[in-house]
Each structure stands twice: as C-alpha cells, then as structure tokens.
C-alpha cells in the first residue's frame, strides 16, 4: 500500500535517480565514446593549464609594473571585484533563463508534477541542475585565475583549499536570485515575461557598453603604468560595494592569500549564510508559487501567426536569385527555422555582440600605434577568436542540419529535387550565415586597430576562406556521418561525428590564422626597412590560405556528397 513519503525520503529518491543517471552516462561514455571523452578532457585540461600559465604571466607582469605591495593588492582587488561582479550579473541571468526552460517548459517537469512530489522538491531538483549548468564555466575560468594568483602571491596552503568552498558558496547566491526572479516573473507577470526579459537583456547590454566606455574613456593618454592602474581602480569603484557578494568573495580570498585566515573564514561564513538564506527563500517561494505559476503560464492563449510571407523571406528570395528555385526555397526554409528558434539566434547574437563590444573598445587601450607587429598579432588573434566562435556555430547548428533532415525525409525525399541540391543549400546557408557577421567584425576590428589596407584585404579574403572551409567541413561531415534517429541537435553534436567536426574545425582555424599571420608579420616588419614594402608576402600568404581553404572546402563536401547520394533513410 502506498503512503505519503517525507521530505527526506523524497530527496533520497531524487538523488538516487540522479546518481543512476550519472553512472549510466559515464559508463556509456567510457564504453562507446572514449575518443570524445579523451578529446573533451584533454582540451579542457589544455584550456585550464593555458589560462593558468597566462594568468601567472599576467600577475607577474602587474607585479613588475607596480612595485609597492599596497598598490599591487589594490589592483588585484579591483580586477577580482569587477570580474566577480560581472559573473554575479551573468549568473543571475543564466540561472533564471535555464530555470525558466526546465521548470516551466520541460517535459520532465510535466512528469514530476503529476507524481505525488512536493512542488518545492521539483524546484530544488531543477535548481541544483541549473546552478551546475550555469556555473561550470565559472569554475573552469575562475579556478586557474585564482590558483595563479595564489602561486604568484606565495599564498599559504589553506588559500588553495578555500578556493572551492568560496566559489561554491558564491555561485549559489546569484543562482538563488535568478530563481526567485524567474518564479516571480512567471507567477505575477506571465503576460509580459518576454518583453521584460528583452528589456532586461537590453538594459544589461546597454549598461555593459556604458561601463566599458566610462571605464576606458580617456585612458589613451598613457601606457600600462602605475598611474594608469590607479585611474582604472578609481573608475571601477562601483564594483567595490560592501553589499555585493562578489566583493565578499574577492576580499575573502585575498585575505586568505595574505595569511589572514580568520578574516577569510569570516567572509566565507558570510557567503555561505547568504547562499543558504537565498536558497531557503527560493525554496519557500517555490512551495507557494511554482505550481500556480506553471498552470498560469500553460493557461495562456497562444498568439496566432498572421498568414502570408514575411518581407524578410521575400527579400532573401530576391537576393538569392542566382540559385535554382528549389535551392532558394530550401535556404529560406532553413533561415525561417533559424529565425523562429530563439535558442539558436540568441547564442549567435550574444557571441557576436560581445565580440563587437570588445572590438569597439580596442582603441581605448593605447599600447597600439607604436608597435605595428603587436597590432598585427592582436588583429590575427581577433581573427582566430572569430574563427573559434564560427566553429562553435557550425558544429552546433550546421553539422546537425543533414541529420535533422532525416526526420523530414519522407517529404524532402519525394520532392522532384536532386539530393545534391539539399547539400548545397546547407552549404550556402552556412556560408551566408557565418560570412556576413564575421566580415563585419573583421572590418570593425581592423578599423579600430588602424590596420594597413593590404592586410585588411588579406583578412577579408582569409575570412571568406575560413567561412567556406568551416561550412564545407560541417556540411560534408554532417552528410558523411548523419545521426538520423536523434531529434536533438545538441545530442547529434555531442556524438563522435560532432566531436571530429569540432576538432578538424579547430585545426583548420589554426592553419588559416597562422599562415597569413606569419606572412603579414614579415610584411609589417618590412615597412620599417628602407626600400619597397614586401607586399608580395601578403599576396603569398593569402594565396596559400586560399589554396588550403579550397581544399578544406571541396574535399569534405565531395566526401559528404558521395555519402549523401547513397544514404538510405
């Protein structure tokens, strides 16, 4: 006979379920996807160690510039304060958005709410997941910085032990805040939730631009010297409010690094108590408003779509006039699906928006004009970053396109349409979607860095080659190794083919960046020598990149084309 279970039994059942799931995932990954696990682990380690070494160098550089320990500590304090304050805001938003999806839109929540489970338990279960999902990046990014700081400052052993509890306690505060905001928004403002989110997002982006502008405004007057750091510290005053958990975190860790363990523990206790209190408030609130909010959200009438073709599709149809009609229609269909999936375009917009923000502020740092080779390095580093973001986009969204068509092949396969047209339409879609924003970003970066005209042309040609190459790899591999059973793009991406696609794309980016970068470097060096500048170096670098790009584009596409012609759905 069934009986009501208490909260502890409920918690045990959820943890047991989660543990079984983790065990199954790990066992399956080790059995079926060793290469993927090795690549992901290896790349994560390389990333962590790279960041660690970079920050060791960075902190030593700051120490060499600022000889007085007091100013050094002030500078580190300011860096940590602004870093953790930014993370605080980002974690509030990311946890809130993840929880909105998992508490109100997921099929799992629907299952759990039909079981005799307390609403607060469903909330806690999803809250723990959301906190982990939103903060793992912080752990990956934050721990090497903090470890490097400890090494450079010759911190006592307990500093390193305290890093993890500090970070864990800290992430729970923005996570609880995001959860409370999310539940309150759905419960009391369900109709305007989207508008509010857009407004809040717009305010956050606007605020970031304003802050970046004010912090670096007028900082062109001098190079990286003590006065510059002092000025920056003064401008970052807003991130040093005593009420911000980010300040408690930076202060607590810095006290530990200085050997003040009792002060440090005080800050840790402050963080833990606030994290627990935040979680308690969120839990209490969830018991009262989660289920009510869930049903209120589900009780809204869906907005009806207006009939007719949108102006954007008409415009696109005309602009693709050189292509055959079936290909045009396939591309418009893919762009329509992309446009109607906010998860896809919002990630795309955030990545490119942040890059644009960074490029806009490049000239605020004035170590520029005097060092032409240094500018060339920065420009190509920017180029590589754009390439890496493009590769994430092509791996996450372009690679699964053919697999996803497998679900719809009952209609596509019966149309009077050559299979090659499907493949080419994906390729054109991928090139178009990546080339337009990346070329704009390249021009923006080069303009802000006042790059030489010949190098701008080289950058733009390399950008075209990069986009076509990445699209060729993703479309070709997607056709060669489709996963026709899977409906989730993220699961298709995380398979062997997706991992291989990401690895090959990364290797290609390195090649497509290093070759023109080296040639341009020597060209820039030649500008300071007497006589004619060695423009032929730029031409040679561009030509080599073009040849490699052509091969990287054509080869995977040919392989994919052959496989796709023979594919049985």
């Amino acid at each position: 006979m069934s009986r009501a279970i208490d909260a502890n039994e409920e918690a045990r059942a959820f943890w047991a379920m989660r543990w079984r799931m983790v065990r199954n995932v790990v066992t399956q990954a080790l059995r079926e996807a060793r290469l993927r696990v090795s690549v992901v682990t290896g790349l994560s380690l390389i990333f962590w160690v790279g960041l660690f070494l970079l920050f060791i160098d960075g902190f030593q550089f700051v120490n060499s510039l600022l000889e007085q320990p007091k100013i050094q500590q002030q500078t580190y304090g300011a860096i940590f304060d602004i870093f953790f304050a930014s993370l605080l805001v980002m974690l509030i938003f990311s946890t809130g958005i993840i929880l909105y999806g998992s508490l109100y839109r997921s099929r799992e929540a629907q299952l759990l709410l039909t079981l005799p489970v307390r609403s607060a338990r469903v909330f806690l279960h999803k809250f723990q997941e959301a906190t982990l999902l939103s903060s793992w990046g912080f752990v990956l990014l934050g721990t090497p910085i903090l470890a490097a700081y400890g090494i450079v400052e010759v911190a006592p052993w307990y500093y390193f032990l305290l890093i993890l509890p500090f970070v864990v306690a800290f992430v729970h505060i923005p996570a609880a805040t995001g959860a409370i905001l999310c539940m309150a928004l759905v419960r009391w403002l369900p109709r305007v939730r989207l508008h509010l989110l857009v407004l809040a997002g717009g305010m956050a982006i606007g605020g970031s631009i304003y802050l970046a502008w004010t912090v670096f405004r007028g900082a062109e007057v001098a190079s990286l010297n003590a006065a510059w750091f002092q000025e920056m510290i003064a401008r970052l005053q807003f991130s040093r409010s005593r009420l911000l958990p980010s300040w408690w975190l930076s202060r607590g860790l810095m006290e530990a690094a200085q050997g003040q363990w009792s002060e440090s523990i005080l800050f840790l206790v402050l963080l833990i108590s606030n994290a627990l209190f935040g979680q308690l408030v969120a839990w209490w609130l969830s018991a009262r408003i989660y289920r009510v909010g869930y049903t209120a959200l589900r009780s809204q009438r869906r907005a009806r779509r207006l009939p007719g073709v949108s102006w954007a599709d008409v415009l696109l149809g005309h602009s693709l006039g050189v292509l055959s009609r079936p290909m045009r229609l396939l591309i418009i269909k893919d762009i329509r699906l992309f446009r109607r999936d906010p998860i896809q375009w919002s990630q795309y917009a955030i990545f490119f928006g942040l890059l644009a923000l960074y490029f806009l502020n490049i000239r605020r740092f004035t170590y520029d004009v005097g060092y032409a080779e240094w500018i060339n390095v920065v420009a190509f580093l920017n180029f590589a970053v754009i390439g890496l973001i493009l590769s994430i986009f092509t791996s996450r969204f372009v690679y699964p396109l053919i697999s996803l068509e497998g679900q719809r092949f009952w209609i596509l396969g019966r149309l009077p349409l050559a299979r090659d047209a499907i493949l080419w339409s994906k390729f054109v879609f991928a090139v178009g979607a990546t080339l337009v924003p990346s070329a704009l970003l390249i021009v923006l970066s080069d303009t802000m860095l006042r790059i030489d005209g010949a190098i701008v042309v080289c950058h733009l040609l390399s950008c075209v080659v990069l986009c076509t190459g990445l699209a060729g790899i993703s479309v070709g591999l997607g056709a060669k190794m489709p996963n026709l059973r899977e409906e989730s793009p993220s699961k298709i991406t995380s398979g062997f083919g997706g991992t291989l696609n990401q690895v090959l794309s990364t290797l290609y980016i390195i090649v497509a960046t290093v070759i023109p970068a080296v040639h341009c470097h020597f060209y820039v060096a030649s500008l300071r020598e007497p006589g004619e500048p060695a423009t032929w170096l730029v031409v040679q670098g561009t030509a080599v990149t073009l040849v490699i790009g052509l091969a990287v584009t054509v080869l995977p596409l040919r392989i994919g084309q052959r496989a796709f012609r023979l594919l049985e759905f």
């Binding site: 379920m17 079981l115 009510v292 009780s299």
Partner: protein, 254 residues
C-alpha cells in the same frame, strides 16, 4: 472516485472547457470522445494537476486536486499521450524512481515491479537504457509505471497510440481487469472501436461542452439510432451540435 463539479477552463479569452459536471465511480471505465480541440486533453491535465480549473472543483477520491495535489496524485496513475522517460535511465531504474515516490517498502516495491514487468512483457528490454526504446515499448513502460502503486484512479490519454495489436490487446485486457477490481478509469481516445469495446460509459465532448453521457445503449436510444456503431453516433452527435450553433465562444460571450 472522480468528480468534476462545474469545471470551467479558459486559455486567455478562449474557453476550452465549460461547466463540466461529471462523476466517475469506482469500477467504471469511462471514455471521453471528441474531435481535436474539443477539451479532452485540457480536462485530463486538470485532473492530473497540470492545469488549474478557472472555476469549479475537481476531486480524486475526495481530495481536491488544487488544494491537495499530492494526496490526489498518490491515488492516481497517469498515462500521457506523449510519455516522457529519462533517456539515461533503464526501464527498471525508471520504475524504481516512480515507486520510490509512493513510499513502498523494499519488498513490496520489488514485488510490484516484477508484477508489472511481467504483465506488460517488459523483461526483454527493461534493463536497457530507455533512449533505445520504440514508441510502443515506451508506452508499455509508462502503463507499467502508472499501475505500480495499484492506483484507485487511472487516467489515460490516447491509450493505443504506437501499440502493436498484441500490446493493444494486453492493454485492453488490463483496463478491463482493473475496472473489475474497482479502479475508476478515465480515458480519452480517438479510437472509437476501443471505446466501443471496453468502455462502460461514454461521454462526447465538443467545443468544451459535454454533449452527452451514457452507455452505448443509452446513447443509441437517446439518438434514436438503434443499430448504429459508435462512429455513426459520434458523427451524428457532433454534427448536430455544430448545426445547433454550439460553436466555440469566447469567454466574454459565453
């Protein structure tokens, strides 16, 4: 066992269910029929606690589903039309999670699981991850999960979707046995032959309004269609309702 009292549900200004009064006693297998968008799934979602009625009350074994959702859920088993399973759990692990929610002791839980695994013939795949299951296998597993705790009320949305003939027979026999054992069963379906074959009472709903309720014989008498099939009855009743102007109304005009 199941009581709908003046239940009304609206989505914004659109009324999905209007003033539904219905009682399903223990041992009855009730089939709710209706065209797409008639309000069947909305009624079921209110019954299992996923939606709140805009007006009226809904009780399961005397427990109000809004005021005491846990008590109501504990007495209820639910089979949705699109079952959700955890991809990375095996069928057995999923059943274990579900039964943990009902507070069974270890021995009783094991017995229940073995009983349902045997009943729905899951033994061949129950230890595989559920991401490898076909739709029919998932549906059978969800039936097993819904019956694990021997519920007093069973709610099923489209029971036959994706089931092969043998599994469909199994499900129909199980439902008959459960009803005979005293379970109140509320089932929504488009498969009229299933309703005709196993339902002890049938309700036809359209545009959120319950048009008629009764046994197949009572419906035939009421409509003066003595030798008709349920399909003929259904088409006649819904067509008549349409002709009488019982079209969808906005809440403001209802």
């Amino acid at each position: 066992m199941i009581e709908f009292q003046g239940v009304r549900k609206s989505y914004g200004t659109k009324l999905a269910v209007r003033s539904l009064d219905l009682t399903i006693p223990a041992g009855e297998l009730f089939a709710l029929l209706g065209p797409n968008g008639a309000g069947k799934t909305t009624s079921i979602k209110m019954l299992v606690g996923l939606l709140r009625p805009s007006k009226g009350a809904l009780r399961v074994c005397g427990h109000d589903v809004v005021a005491a959702p846990q008590e109501a859920s504990r007495r209820l088993g639910y089979v949705p039309d699109e079952p959700y399973l955890y991809d990375k759990l095996s069928g057995r692990e999923f059943l274990q999670f579900i039964i943990d929610m009902y507070g069974f002791d270890r021995q009783a839980a094991a017995q229940s699981m073995e009983r349902e695994i045997e009943r729905f013939e899951l033994a061949g795949f129950v230890d595989d991850l559920s991401e490898t299951y076909s739709h029919g296998m998932k549906q059978r597993l969800v039936f097993a999960a819904a019956l694990l705790h021997d519920p007093e009320v069973l709610v099923i949305d489209e029971p036959m979707v994706g089931l092969d003939p043998r599994s469909a027979r199994l499900v129909k026999d199980t439902l008959r046995q459960r009803a005979a054992a005293g379970t109140a069963i509320f089932m929504s379906t488009h498969t009229l032959t299933v309703a005709e074959e196993i339902a002890s009472r049938i309700g036809i709903v359209d545009h959120g309004r319950l048009l008629c309720v009764g046994t197949l014989e009572e419906l035939r008498r009421e409509q003066a269609l003595h030798d008709s099939t349920l399909e003929e009855l259904f088409l006649q009743i819904t067509a008549a309702a349409e002709a009488n102007g019982q079209a969808p109304l906005d809440e403001t005009t209802a």
